[in-house]
Amino acid sequence: MTDARQGLSGLLDTEAIRKDFPLLDRTVHDGKKIVYLDSAATSQKPRQVLDALNTYYERHNANVHRGVYTVAEEATALYEGARDKVAAFINAPSRDEVIFTKNASESLNLVANMLGWADEPYRVDRETEIVTTEMEHHSNIVPWQLLAQRTGAKLKWFGITDDGRLDLSNIDEIITEKTKIVSFTLVSNILGTVNPVERIIRRAQQVGALVCIDASQAAPHMVLDVQALQADFVAFTGHKMVGPTGIGVLWGRQELLEDLPPFLGGGEMIETVSMHSSTYAPAPHKFEAGTPPIAQAVGLGAAVDYLSAIGMEKIHQHEKAITEYAVQRLLEVPDLRIIGPATAEDRGAAISFTLGDIHPHDVGQVLDEQGIAVRVGHHCARPVCLRYGIPATTRASFYLYSTPAEVDALVDGLEHVRNFFG
């Protein structure tokens, strides 16, 4: 154990927490205990969430908002109960502002399509501009490219500085009177950067543009308060916050959700239907066509309960300590270059790096042989790799169950990688 590790403060009782996560107990490659450092891609799931899914299917499974029989009422109560839990978790002023989707990508695509089909004053057309950043996950770039191509609007973006921060030096030229929507990530999935929300929102509000925040890498790791953020839309996904796959969230301000048109049409999103025309249900149902991901929403509700019981502020402090330690230890590895902020200041628990000229694929393969799971590639953020002139990175990401010993295992593993290709 190194001295730095002894001095770490703010750590959670990971010994207890890890008992809740069955997968963390498994072994790979002839008995090596798994060291899971890919929570930014997806988190592992605690037994409490797995049990909630099982209990739902075994005891309460029925379609929602339809039947009058007991089990159907229970399914509806559980599904809508999950909405209440999520609303409380993000401090939404109203539960009706929480729309369930299948993931953050769908949430962001939903916003882009609402605006593409909207009437004035929200309408995005050839006279208007869309703003995003070079730091985004592809899910917050491609929907806006599609919207720009289809409407003739102009797509603009903020660049990135050498040390992995958003370059806001030209903010007044990027966000202008023509800007209709500014969409950016709260925490970068590749660089780990926590972005200065307030400054961007202040400028967007000056010109009357809407603001959409991708909180996929924030919701699992810190207190997320949509009222404090002052954005118009906030998107995130369940599977990165100990919930199941197949469930995402879009929060939107109520008056916007009332004004904006639906995107997907179908069952459940209507009020009345005739062969000539239809009227729509109020939000959030207006944006939830078809049978929703019921079990997954219930699972997300259990995930929110799990995280809240530990406390988001405590989880944040734990990750901050682990990240500080990891940055420090990684910088000891020869030829290792951190892509993104090289300090723990305003950064999340995902750390990308290159290791000499050893390709990340090869780094990841040799780490895997030692039971260490990291992500390699461009992390669905290829513009960032282009920006730094690298083909890909290796990314280690941490969560509430990560330990300093796992950071040490990674550092030892990288030494082994260097020897293997040395």
């Binding site: 490659h29 694929h361 393969q365 042989e369 290829r382 083909p391």
Partner: protein, 151 residues
């Protein structure tokens, strides 16, 4: 160690000392990418009648994709197109074998150094790396043929 079945000495040698790397004059050029990992290759083919006169390439990628391009160059340059296609087919078969195919003598004769990639076929995520240059070669050849550069 299991890793050694993937990172055979032959593969690491090709990775560290690639054959025929760099772009030269060609009849057709293609650019292929592996969208999951960002590996890229630009590859040119040159034909002299029915003979593969040159395969030149440049790009970035992991040891497997780089070594595979080097082996391709070594194996295909100087061969008749029909023979080059047999080699490509055999390599494809090997890479799609999920580690189930034990290369026999006949296969070793066709694939030479490329049999070293048998171990890679056990790793689904890496098969695409090994095939990147071979798919690029196939595509470039089709392009050269359709443009009537070869007989």
């Amino acid at each position: 160690m299991k890793l050694d079945s993937m990172y055979q000495e032959v593969i690491l040698d090709h990775y560290k000392h690639p054959h025929g790397r760099g772009l030269r004059d060609g009849d057709a050029e293609v650019h292929h990418v592996n969208p999951t990992c960002g590996d890229e290759i630009t590859l040119r083919v040159k034909y002299d009648g029915e003979t593969v006169a040159d395969v030149s390439y440049d790009g970035q990628g992991c040891s497997i994709s780089q070594a595979s391009a080097s082996v391709l160059n070594e194996l295909l340059v100087g061969k008749e197109l029909s023979q080059a296609r047999r080699i490509q087919d055999a390599f494809l078969e090997l890479m799609q074998s999920k580690g189930q195919l034990e290369p026999d003598e006949a296969m070793e004769e066709v694939l030479e150094d490329a049999v070293a990639f048998a171990g890679v076929s056990k790793y689904p995520a890496r098969v695409k790396c090994a095939l990147l240059s071979w798919m690029a070669w196939k595509d470039a050849t089709a392009k050269a043929l359709s443009e009537g550069k070869t007989a």
